[in-house]
Symmetry: C2
Subunit: 297 residues, 2 copies
């Protein structure tokens, strides 16, 4: 029967580390959150951000602002030297308009790593922001949370996860290729050495190293060889991944709000990670510290 990893435990470890490093600083950091939507998941995420900030010792200010005043409010936070990090709770407008908003946040304060500046860094596997290669580039919170959870699972199984290419030789299947999670995740796993089959409604792409190519592999063939299976399909139409489909001993992780694995997946998986949320918040706090070190210290 599979080990289940609770993301809140790993999140706590990361928060402890962030808290310890924050106490070394000569000032408290301030994070501003913008809430322009009445959607309940956004409010929940905001309250988790607040709790995380309280835990590590970051000042958090939640600003509720009508969506048509959001752009001006972001401009103000961008230019306020006392604001070190900005988080905006989406969705607000259409996905294209929201994409525009993401690029309005100064990338040096964009703790979620959603700015195109960071996406370009990731897709070019350019891991530093300075020529001297001392300041690390930011990675988007949810894919980063997944990578850390998978590393934890691999460590539990005895793999060496401190290698430069910790996923060399591993095959991964990811169901989801959104711009916010699935595509950056596939690129990050490939940068770490994995061969990644990325499934979405438009078809299958294979990420390996720097290369991305179209693939004809079927779901069953991909699952049969995958050491790691990641799901993020927010649809009840999705056929749940079952034990019979996966490789024995595979690590299975679901980041969708819906169940994407059958309840008995643990009969064949080695590790099951049912959710990611608390780790996403921990990574946002960690990113806040990194941005401060890179740009404001």
């Amino acid at each position: 029967v599979a080990i289940t990893i609770d993301p809140s435990e790993l999140a706590k470890d990361f928060r402890l580390d962030v808290r310890a490093r924050l106490t070394q600083l000569d000032r408290r950091l301030k994070l501003v959150g913008f809430l322009s939507t009445t959607q309940s998941p956004s409010k929940t995420y905001a309250s988790y951000t607040k709790a995380g900030c309280d835990d590590v010792g970051i000042d958090f200010e939640l600003i509720e602002v009508p969506k048509l005043e959001l752009e001006a409010a972001i401009d103000q936070a961008n230019s306020d030297p006392n604001v070190h990090g900005i988080i905006v709770y989406y969705p607000i407008f259409s996905s294209e308009h929201d994409r525009y908003i993401k690029d309005l946040v100064d990338h040096r304060k964009d703790i979620e790593g959603l700015h195109t500046y960071w996406a370009k860094k990731l897709y070019h596997n350019d891991r530093f922001v300075d020529a001297a290669r001392t300041k690390k580039a930011l990675l988007p919170c949810t894919p980063l949370a997944i990578v850390k959870l998978l590393a934890k699972a691999r460590a539990t199984l005895g793999f060496n996860t401190n290698d430069l290419r910790p996923l060399a030789g591993a095959s991964v299947t990811v169901f989801n290729r959104s711009e916010v999670v699935g595509r950056p995740l596939a690129a990050m796993l490939a940068n770490d050495g994995a061969e990644v089959y990325s499934f979405d409604v438009d078809g299958v792409l294979k990420f390996a190293g720097d290369a991305v190519e179209e693939s004809k592999i079927t779901r069953s063939a991909a699952l049969k060889v995958s050491d790691i299976v990641v799901t993020g399909v927010p649809s009840r139409e999705f056929e749940l991944v079952s034990p019979a489909e996966i490789k024995a001993g595979a690590i299975c992780l679901n980041f969708s709000t819906l169940r994407n694995f059958t309840a008995d997946i643990g009969d064949r998986a080695s590790v099951f990670i049912p959710r990611v949320g608390p780790m996403t918040v921990a990574m946002a706090l960690r990113n806040t510290l990194r941005l401060y070190e890179n740009y404001h210290a």
Copy 2:
């Protein structure tokens, strides 16, 4: 009965002007187009770009590239000093992924004005790229084409269109608030002094000056007071705008590929502009020249 304006005539005037200014340069400009889709409208747009370039004397190279190699191809064109302009034919991926591609094109070569750099300029009504305010900012092709066609229509009706705020006192209704046409268009018309009612499935926004606010105005109330009606609804569900709905003497323009006005709209409109296409291409050529003057000359 309304005057009908054929955009190809105005486009010809603009091309003549661009051609004359290009002959003053000490070199020929080169525009590169990337075609990564087999969709027919993109191929058509590419062939129109070619014809326009031939007409004004710009070298045009159409590069057909598999979509997964597009990013590397754009990088190459960005860094090639012999390439002065880049045009990418969309759609290619999902709208969010395409938004990422738009920001990969160096904004100094982005002749369509789709880069977030240009969007920010527009939405902040910042009309220049240099501190000395000698180099004009770029505007996106299709909204710019519409603004020019509306100015032509207004001139035909005897309005002074050379004013700093040529649309002061005018009311406009726009059906479409896409990030590519409707929203930038509403901002441009408001920057020119108009009061703009912007309709889409999410509701109505009113743009006036720098302000944008939610509005409860109904379609019929907006149409009744609008001196200009612009439609761009790519759906057969849209109730066609009819003469009974509009203000007598209104200027009507449709940029959708579908008909959005009833066939008898000219019974009450003063000017009808049934399409925009040729002017979009002319504006892309004009933008190529402007980018060269701003950044490469």
